[in-house]
Symmetry: C2
Subunit: 220 residues, 2 copies
């Protein structure tokens, strides 16, 4: 019974996500769904990405949080269109919430839409929102046991950004284990080591974005 | 409609949690529900706590994870009774899962039961499992914006362990803001700064445990 309800929720979500997808396509938008544990560095990655790509692409942002508009204010300070969605306790964004955010954004004037999900390594991975790619962050301070303990997000993601590499010397993070287990779960996963604070490794991530967006968008 | 279903789930859970509570009382058990983001240090805190208190109290553990028995094996190595619950995708433990774990433990031979919840700063705070106290960990590497962004867990907890204090010099964690916002959300919250890795501050936490358990348990 419980399983049926859950399946119903996910099916309904998939229908809404497919509608979002059509709207994204109609507007030639490249859309990423950014996911991680709380505090892994999603908003800082966003700030660095927007600053680096602002001259090349028109970027919009949907910020998902349980409460506060703190992240939206950080993005708004960069001068790009941003919508804050407060889930009011909900632990993930779903297709319908993203749709509501889309309605507040000038989609036809954008090349890239970045959706920052609620900080949670579990539930966001279950809900498609119509994105082109799911991007996840794992920070070195979280430990190398996370891929095996939270497998779905690693399986669903196209890119794993290993963040806080600047803190690696102060942790016992096992880089080889994290890489090995992540690739065992998802052989297609692209793993990029970065430090959002120092900027190390971000050029590889920006190149990934440029390639993907470039294949969709003609103008810049 | 959706809201009604959620309310029904929470009410059913509260009934099961109340049954768990009676069983805990019947066995003079002090029970804590340990919650945090993934990788904040729950299992390491557990290891240090068990090692320090093993000569004084009889401790049992319920380990909640989405997948793997990695944490249960870490606890089993310390020679205390432990049960692993795999939620199979579920993002939190509920009363029923804990009840199933309880059935596998020698409750009458224990003084303390520690329930390590799934790593998630959101959903675990919504589900009572019959515990005496909710204990949460926030690590300095997660950032000081977390209390306002994930308020429920801070409101529900009796103790906030601020972990990874050894990494504080390498982060921009604003200790004063974290303290101020946490206490604004929950004036009764006891905040203890610790480093589970170095052991700094753990004595204050162990004293908190000793006082609470001592008021329930006569023998040791």
């Amino acid at each position: 019974m419980k399983v049926k309800i859950v399946a119903g929720v996910l099916e309904a979500n998939d229908r809404i996500a497919a509608n979002n997808r059509r709207l994204f396509d109609d507007n030639d938008l490249f859309v990423i769904n950014l996911m991680s544990s709380p505090g892994a560095g999603k908003t800082t990655l966003l700030e660095k990405t927007i600053t680096a790509l602002a001259g090349e692409f028109r970027i919009g942002v949907i910020e998902g949080d349980i409460a506060t508009d703190a992240d939206a204010r950080r993005i708004d300070a960069l001068g790009v269109p941003v919508v804050q969605i407060n889930t009011g306790g909900g632990c993930h964004l779903d297709g319908n919430m993203v749709r509501q955010g889309m309605d507040e954004l000038p989609l036809s004037d954008l090349d890239i839409l970045i959706i920052e999900n609620v900080g949670n390594l579990v539930c966001p991975a279950e809900f498609n929102v119509g994105e082109d790619a799911k991007i996840m962050i794992l920070s070195t301070t979280e430990g190398a046991d996370k891929p095996l303990k939270y497998p779905l997000m690693f399986q669903e993601s196209s890119v794993l950004l290993l963040n806080k590499m600047d803190l690696l010397p102060y942790t016992d993070f096992d880089l080889e284990k994290a890489r090995k287990d992540s690739l065992m779960l998802n052989g297609d996963l692209e793993i990029i080591e970065v430090s959002c604070r120092t900027g190390d490794g971000l050029e590889t991530w920006l190149e990934w974005m440029r390639e993907r967006v470039g294949s969709r968008v003609v103008t810049a």
